[in-house]
Subunit: 288 residues, 4 copies
Amino acid sequence: MTPSAILLVSCPDAKGEVASIADFVYRHGGNILHADEHADADSGLFLMRVEFDPKDFDVDLAQKDLADFRKHFSPIAERFKMNWRLALSSRRPRMIIFVSRYDHCLVDLLYRHQSGELACEIPLIISNHPDNQRIADFYKVPYSVVSITKENKQEAENKIESLIQGYRADFMVLARYMQIFSSDFVNRYPQRIINIHHGFLPAFMGAKPYHQAFERGVKLIGATSHYVTEVLDDGPIIEQDVVRVSHRDTVEDLIRKGRDLEQVVLSRAVRLHVENRILLYGNKTVVF
Amino acid sequence: MTPSAILLVSCPDAKGEVASIADFVYRHGGNILHADEHADADSGLFLMRVEFDPKDFDVDLAQKDLADFRKHFSPIAERFKMNWRLALSSRRPRMIIFVSRYDHCLVDLLYRHQSGELACEIPLIISNHPDNQRIADFYKVPYSVVSITKENKQEAENKIESLIQGYRADFMVLARYMQIFSSDFVNRYPQRIINIHHGFLPAFMGAKPYHQAFERGVKLIGATSHYVTEVLDDGPIIEQDVVRVSHRDTVEDLIRKGRDLEQVVLSRAVRLHVENRILLYGNKTVVF
Amino acid sequence: MTPSAILLVSCPDAKGEVASIADFVYRHGGNILHADEHADADSGLFLMRVEFDPKDFDVDLAQKDLADFRKHFSPIAERFKMNWRLALSSRRPRMIIFVSRYDHCLVDLLYRHQSGELACEIPLIISNHPDNQRIADFYKVPYSVVSITKENKQEAENKIESLIQGYRADFMVLARYMQIFSSDFVNRYPQRIINIHHGFLPAFMGAKPYHQAFERGVKLIGATSHYVTEVLDDGPIIEQDVVRVSHRDTVEDLIRKGRDLEQVVLSRAVRLHVENRILLYGNKTVVF
Amino acid sequence: MTPSAILLVSCPDAKGEVASIADFVYRHGGNILHADEHADADSGLFLMRVEFDPKDFDVDLAQKDLADFRKHFSPIAERFKMNWRLALSSRRPRMIIFVSRYDHCLVDLLYRHQSGELACEIPLIISNHPDNQRIADFYKVPYSVVSITKENKQEAENKIESLIQGYRADFMVLARYMQIFSSDFVNRYPQRIINIHHGFLPAFMGAKPYHQAFERGVKLIGATSHYVTEVLDDGPIIEQDVVRVSHRDTVEDLIRKGRDLEQVVLSRAVRLHVENRILLYGNKTVVF
């Protein structure tokens, strides 16, 4: 894989934005590999993702906090009031996986990571149960048990935060993690916590979505991966998929079929996040 | 298509039901073409659909109210406390289509009917608007306009009922009909009114589901066909399907993509109903 | 719908292409609405589609043969050895539909066109059978019968060509047209004849694909829309889709299920063509 | 899971078959849990699968070679010229997995097995490479390396056969096993070797199907699980599925997306086989 640089931009829609960005990359010797943009008519927002080959780029991308890039790109950013971020594919983001007892999403993410499908590091797994230690050992990933009870929730979240800092995590994935974080905690990590919900949101919010789906007699069940926000199961949706079910399927069958869905939907969402393909506008995602 | 007889049964689950029914058909000279059954563990209900070739059947199926069949089958039905119904494929059910201004589901049903996909009669189209007269004319189906306002609702429903009776309709299809019938009306036609909802129920109940889906930023939109019951959008689901959407799709795109979904989902539901493949248990359907 | 201009480009991959094009549009007062590009590593080809709002564009797009645009864009085009084409959404392309006896794709295209889904004109329907005249009449489209036999093939193709010229058609759609054009004819209209094949190409090439699929016992059947080239069923694929089948489905069921597929796949392909979203590289399509 | 007995029958279609079988089960105290049948018009074949609760069944199912059942069922079997087989869910079939270097299907099957999704035993993994020993160890399954070269093929197959016998395997799964067995070998195990082909058969038979698909520019790629027969990639198809691809996908992307497909399709096929849901007629499968 060629190393690449990815520039993500969102700003009020205005003429000349594509030209200014493309020209900037070109003028400095970058070769655009992919460019995607979207103008959202409702919000008047312009969103863009440009991936370029930085081999001959004459701006120093190795400086701390991208100081050199910042200096050169500022005039454009200020002119168009851009929110922007530059990611380097050579700098693999660090992902902490949270898991409880259900291990299928954990196993799937670890396997895909080992196969080279996910261009990130996995420095740590955090769980509220010791059960999945053996899997972590097989994949040689440290496994930290942080028990959470009603009583020690604040304390537990503090401990989790210090782990996140200690392991310099860039984002977190809740791989069927059965705990709900406090608003305070969640708000500290905007667009940095990915969850998998085992229902086709916004149907079947909350607990036991497969049981809800069974009761309602739906003909398709779904899974939804989304960023976690303060409101439960209401964050920006990254990816969804469904699978057909029938009267022949018991709740147990729905759970089994759902496992495949959850793995596929969550791993797609993680991959999109790792490849810096997701931009937010309001409570929605643009997936480039 | 060979003419066939279809026996639909639901009763408390008990030993010997399949054997008794299969033996009954066999003993009287029928040849079973398809047999499907389902035992629902939760409700302890047994449901069965048996389709047989009545060519050499020695029970007279031509008698009024199936008197001869009733006489012969009663012992079995009573022994197992069966609810049952016998349908003859030679007797094509009569379907009235209800439509408002959107014509895509109407056009689709009429086209499929003409192609021979739907083994029913369409004696009448009822609409609260005159707009679709021309389509009805093309397909040579009578078209009756019954205006409905808040004020004349009771009167309009009376008129509709007399049309249903006059045209001896067996069931009704709401092909994007934008009126809500009263509970009284609905309760008179259990499992006899099929609706198409342009959302993936139970998500996006009520009005403007595509706008709701757009707002929520879902990655799939759906359509749901269900029997109409007293509670809006809550009746037993017959069929559902979804299609992928993205940030590129405007509300108008969702509406356009949704039209294809609505047609396909509604026509599948109508076909299943016409072929006597749907049994109810509680608020759910078994689709054989 | 805002009128837009669409610039389609393909050329050898080189640095500065996105920047040059974006800058050109911007410098002349255009506002980029969508931009998509693709660099094909194997062939070293760069392909781009830029859609822009020409409201304030200072190049005259109304001139014959786009003379003014050509003059201004030539330097860039020559520098990068670009093949290019400019399309204006205000200039709706003219599509002739070819049909034989099966009418489902014809009916579907005409309905979608009338609903406003397809931004093209339909000046003519050509058929080798008189059967579908009534449908053409309903949609008020002229219907021309050109019989084709082994003996008169050359003559018939001449007649068809003069109709294509007379009606100033931009492209042709074979909506289950059961005749095979000569290589000479086909080669005269590169990327201008769209066909629907009722099989999942390259499986089931040639005649009676549903019968072939039935014989092979596949669990999914498909349909493929492609540009017609000299080699039968081998042209660049535009769109494909599949639907699940089982042992319960007879050949007739495959044909019925396939009709829905064919309509959806063909209409998507036509829509993509009409919106100038398809570029060729080798025998493959890029669909933006 | 309640233990159950599954009777699989295929015979010439004739009146009274469903009744005779259902009556037989009932008369002996069995309770039918599921019954499925299919009459194939073309071949005049009747196929049936009956699953019943043997709790109160008065025929001894524990006897060697089902002698008691055989005795009681013979009159019916002879009358209708039935091929039949009785399987007991309590007797879990023994599956040997064959694998080469690609480990994704192996890992997936082992994980599902451990999760309880697959009601079989896995007494052995056979590979022509030592690479996947570590995975076998993690799941505590013996792993036997049998190298195959052009020269030692006969000898290697002999060795494999003795392993199959020694481990009393009921069926074999080729989980991306990159060796082709001889006709002799294959013919010894009819309907007992399941393969996963990474293409949508019958398209892309033979080697490197993803490369073939990429070359052809298809918009969907597929995977096919089938029973192995003498003719390569031509055996009865058990299950197929597809996933959408585009010009953005490189061959590597197809391979990655294909892995998910292969796992899902193969594991569904194995599950159907283990649950005795597959019957053959000609070169096709009925999947109940």
